[in-house]
Subunit: 668 residues, 2 copies
């Protein structure tokens, strides 16, 4: 059982691969240098014995798991402090550094919110003086914090938050209060028992007036004893679908006082006497939100890639059923239905990673313009990041679940790691903007653009420029090519935006208010937004691979082109109803798409294992009995099972306590 | 916080309801008598203090949870023994009796396999003599068993099982062996540490020949000490996405001997001298499989109904965002996008429950015929139960997840119960026949039927009779009515069966073997099977509600008709691509469908809460902070959180152990 030979099927699959694996790995990482850097980092982290588990955490109690997570988070944080110094901010870096977590803490770190939103908010919303006071303390973990926005009663609707911060000019302090049960902060990661500070969003009251939501930095626990300060009611919110070790917490205040200078004053200010000086523009705060959403897009791509590796390798190792009588059982990877489940997820893993990187670059460009005083592209960037976050998390969640189900019964085992990947990715459909709400935000931008077009304005932002081509009935002819399909998706998006626009207008004409009309058209608005987002993903994926082809070797570039085409044809078939409705495709074109789709599956088949090897996840990061590089699937399943504390005793005490007395009663 | 008043929004919603709630409840249960019986049973069970938890199980370790589950399972089993006596087998009963589990064990009972497959197999596959020996012992729990079919290496492909049972005429015993690692039994519920017997499926060898898979009953633990017998290697397989307390196990044998009479001999026999006498027909064993699949369909419907109750009640209580400036935040149930997420799941809950009951009645009819010696309808029943199990579990899984996501952040809390509902229902997509594999089985039947039709045979079974209308190009006109939509789905199913048939034929003509052609057409075959299944669900749901309308009051029957129409229009829009391709609908008909869909949402809106109240789940069964009858959502969320053992101490030990030293190091 302790052989370390690589499974013969995988050896055979790898021998078939038509491209240079190293080249793909460097392409995925973003360059050879980054690959080396990543590997060195992984090497360092994974050499630390203290980060390994004796007993898999799934067997432990909620409390034990939290305690282990804290221990590991401290080790990792220290390492990061040493590692991250003087490293430039590359679009590739956040993901690969974060990606070490599945190999160590497994679930979410109780410091996760500290490392992301807490630091980002200090960075983005404090004025220089405040930054000087807090930033290095936070970076060095002298204070540990979280970002507390959501309350029991309000997540989506920020203006509805109920926590109050009332300014008292006598003492130059704010008094924080939680006036109702629904005003309790609820959800912030690490808030339960880990952090000693948090950024609190609260309704600011001064000089008898409410000035809306403002951020405050608040110490909630004593730095020496960690005991909650008087006036603070804090604890954890209990078990969830995932995020078991994230220590999400609740928090209430009762006349809790903080100094005036604890309001984050980059955009707005409260003077000593209580005068409120309002912000010039709060649009700058979009910045942080976009960064966070780009990270979510990248994480989702990584998680889907992990699921694809697991499911493809397992499908190469697993043999089941007979294709032909008297022949050996085939690898399940040879069933065309199985290929359909898996290959699109390899393609989607690439597509979304590439889109995430493109979004990051786009954002850097927009930020540069902002620094030059030009805010014109901000609304477009916001609209883009909303729909991309929504659609990418949705696609990746669905893809991971498809990969899990494709592993049959064993995919349901935690040791496959697929259940955890699922529960993390699906959470991202809700946090940082609930997906429907985000799609509606993008829809608002699209409707504005459509109005612009109807008014004859042709100066549109780059990502919506294509809509101009569809403002009037066009006579373009459907073409069964990549570009033809993308054009078809553009026609669908334009058609859906127009339909939604017309529906809303119809309701207004019929006497409804703008807001009611918006609500009545909202199903169509969401669909329009999704269709627009599909255009973006298809275009970016296709263009970026096209560009990369100039420098990649012909063999690799051919395979990547196949993935692009698979992605396009897959979505054309998925959305054939829309394409039939809004583009010039005819019924007779559909069978050709279907044939092409099936051909592509066959073309990709020989490279399937090579392609997932190309995502280059170390076994520790993948953390899956089904997905390890050597394919020792059954050995690992058994090895993991034998770690169960229940298996340490031949007879569990419940037999003598409950079952035996019960059987004896039955005997009478 | 301990008020027991019902939330005002729910009071208002209930006042708006246009039908008699009691009437709906009786309709859902299958009659007033059954409602009373169910309620009495619930009353009895829920009065038992020992079935209540001090600390929610999610906080405990894997081992503790198992031990609690065993304790509760014994109490429940005793109760069932008393309760079930002399009760006739009604199609309604299995579900409502099973339905008490979410209120007691919460997760799956370690006796679950004993109560289902173990008993069913004894019943179905033992001869009379064997039944006399085993049945009452099993019913009285003098022996506790499970059903061990799946192995590490084989689930779907039974013929591939590797466990061997070799007959030794000298001692008149079978010798059981697990020749390889992949031959280990893997998955059987209760096998880990609970059962002392199991039904083992193994390759029978006698007189030097293999006679394929046969069932054996095997004692694996000592009845007094519960210690595994020599030659038995048994344990649990470890944590899963759900089924934490099901105690799924592994099992290997080393030269383990059992008496000859332990082979289940209803269909086949091994004589004393080792002569193998083969079965007349193993088609009779279809029976058990169909019963199990009907139960799965019913369970899935119940679980989706529970999710719909939770999400609809929560959406009535939850207020978020502003529709109009300066107006109070609306109930999220008023967002049309939210209605789209939820109302289809109310309709689907009814549709699938009704289909499950219809399938049960159909099965009883077929069994009656079989007893009269007529096996003609068996293949149809088998094909039906395969695709219905697959499509219903798929729809319910997707629906539950949609309900969960519709609850925003709080839907991710375990205390909403939505994560557990999801993990149970999705498991049913895999066990008792993996869904793709089942759809392909139905496809085989459909292709046979199509061949029959092409050969001019018009004597088809009832559920495929509709295909005759589409054998030749027809000139029926699309109608925007319920019957029109059903006809449209029939056209789609027929079109897809024809396409799949043609594709397979094309590949055969091109020189592929039948089996290769089957595989190459398999994506289309799966889709054909799904389309056929959608026809069945739509027809049965529509017809049964139509019939019921004769006896129901006009008000209730109107609302149920709306649900039927919503179901039909929803799927017509979902499948508009197929309808555009295969039916005579034109592009211009689609907007009418879309308008009708939006109208239906508005029509159902006032009755939404009434409709989910009509599923009549007691709070204990629903077990959800978000879904309780009184709508005290936020109070319950907080009450549950306060039960966390982490919240019992103001400072967790990990602060002093890890965080503080870390902060101090940072200070330097
Ligand atoms: C795992 C996890 C971690 C989290 N971590 C943090 C954290 O660290 N800090 C923090 O502050 N918060 C955190 N949150 C909270 C999170 O940000 C919110 O849950 C999220 O913003 C969604 O808001 P909600 O829960 O209020 O959903 P709701 O808005 O209540 O959504 C419920 C339903 O209402 C619908 N809806 C709401 N408004 C509209 C509208 N205007 N139009 C149409 N439909 C609408 C939604 O589409 C959805 O279907 C976390 C949440 C999760 C799940
Ligand atoms: C929660 C749970 C409880 C269970 N309880 C029990 C129990 O009590 N007793 C017991 O004996 N077993 C039990 N099982 C095992 C279960 O019956 C099997 O997992 C199930 O039959 C699926 O088989 P598999 O795991 O071999 O999947 P596989 O067949 O390996 O499926 C993997 C993939 O291969 C594909 N595939 C396989 N064959 C074909 C084909 N011919 N054509 C096309 N595609 C194919 C599938 O579609 C799937 O995508 C349980 C499983 C679960 C998840």
């Amino acid at each position: 059982m302790t052989s370390t030979k690589v499974n013969v099927d995988l050896v055979r699959e790898r021998a078939k691969c038509t491209f240079d694996l190293k080249e793909l790995i460097h392409f995925v990482d973003g360059g050879e240098e980054i690959t080396s850097e990543r590997k060195a980092f992984e090497e360092t982290v994974l050499a630390i014995k203290e980060l390994k588990d004796d007993i898999p955490e799934d067997y432990l109690s909620h409390k034990e798991r939290y305690e282990i997570a804290v221990r590991k988070a401290c080790i990792l944080r220290e390492l990061r402090l040493r590692h991250d110094q003087n490293k430039p901010l590359l679009p590739e870096r956040p993901t690969y550094v974060y990606n070490i977590l599945p190999a160590t803490i497994k679930d979410i770190s109780p410091f996760y919110l500290h490392e992301t939103m807490f630091l980002a908010t200090i960075w983005g919303l404090m004025n220089d003086e405040q930054k000087a006071e807090w930033l290095s303390k936070a970076l060095d973990m002298k204070v540990i914090g979280t970002y507390a926005q959501t309350e029991l009663g309000h997540g989506t609707f920020l203006r509805g938050l109920e926590t109050t911060a009332t300014y008292d000019p006598e003492t130059e302090e704010f008094i924080l209060n939680t006036p109702t049960l629904t005003a309790y902060k609820w959800w912030p990661g690490g808030l339960g028992h880990t952090v000693n500070h948090c950024i609190i969003l609260a309704q600011l009251y001064t000089q008898g007036k409410c000035h809306g939501i403002q951020p405050f930095i608040v110490q909630i626990r004593d730095l020496e004893t960690h005991i909650p300060l008087p006036g603070v009611h804090v604890g954890e919110i209990g078990p969830k679908m995932g995020f078991q070790t994230a220590n999400n917490g609740f928090l209430g205040f009762k006349n809790f006082r903080i100094p005036r200078k604890n309001m984050l004053m980059k955009n707005s200010e409260v003077k000593k006497d209580g005068t409120y000086v309002s912000s010039k523009s709060d649009r700058l705060t979009y910045g942080t939100m976009v960064v966070v959403r780009v990270n979510i897009v990248n994480d989702a791509a990584m998680q889907l890639s992990a699921a694809a590796i697991i499911a493809v390798r397992y499908s190469a190792v697993r043999h089941q059923s007979q294709l032909k009588p008297n022949e050996p059982e085939p690898q399940i990877l040879d069933y065309v239905t199985q290929q359909r489940k898996l290959f699109i997820n390899i393609a989607t893993g690439h597509a979304i990673r590439i889109v995430g990187r493109w979004l990051w670059k786009t954002m850097l460009g927009v930020i540069q313009k902002i620094l030059e005083g030009n805010l014109d592209q901000l609304p477009e960037l916001h609209a883009l990041s909303c729909c991309l976050k929504a659609v990418c998390t949705q696609d990746c969640t669905a893809g991971i679940e498809q990969c899990r189900l494709a592993c049959g019964g064993h995919g349901y085992m935690n040791s496959s790691n697929l259940p955890l990947l699922y529960s993390h990715t699906t959470a991202a459909m809700t946090y940082e903007g609930e997906n429907t709400v985000l799609l509606l935000q993008t829809a608002r931008y699209l409707l504005k653009t459509w109005t612009q077009i109807l008014e004859g304005d042709t100066k549109l932002n780059p990502t919506v420029l294509y809509l101009l081509n569809f403002a009037k009935p066009t006579d373009y002819r459907w073409e069964n090519t990549n570009q033809g399909i993308i054009k078809g998706f553009q026609a669908v998006a334009a058609g859906k935006i127009k339909t939604a626009y017309d529906t809303a207008s119809k309701h207004v004409s019929a006497g409804k208010s703008q807001e009611e009309a918006w609500n009545l058209a909202s199903i169509q608005l969401v669909e329009a937004s999704e269709a627009h987002c599909r255009v973006i993903i298809c275009e970016v994926f296709s263009n970026e691979i096209q560009c990369a082809s100039n420098t990649l070797s012909p063999n690799l570039s051919k395979v990547l082109q196949q993935l692009v085409e698979l992605y396009l044809v897959h979505w054309a078939l998925e959305k054939k109803g829309d394409i039939l409705l809004y583009s010039t495709i005819s019924k007779d074109d559909i069978p050709a798409l279907r044939d092409r789709y099936e051909e592509l599956l066959a073309l990709i088949r020989p490279n399937a294992v090579g392609l997932v090897d190309g995502f280059d996840f170390r076994d520790e990061v993948l953390n899956s009995t089904l997905g390890a590089y050597d394919g020792r699937v059954y050995e690992r399943l058994m090895e993991e099972a034998l770690k169960s504390p229940l298996n340490a005793e031949p007879v569990n005490s419940s037999f003598h306590k409950y079952i035996k007395p019960f059987m004896e009663k039955a005997k009478l």
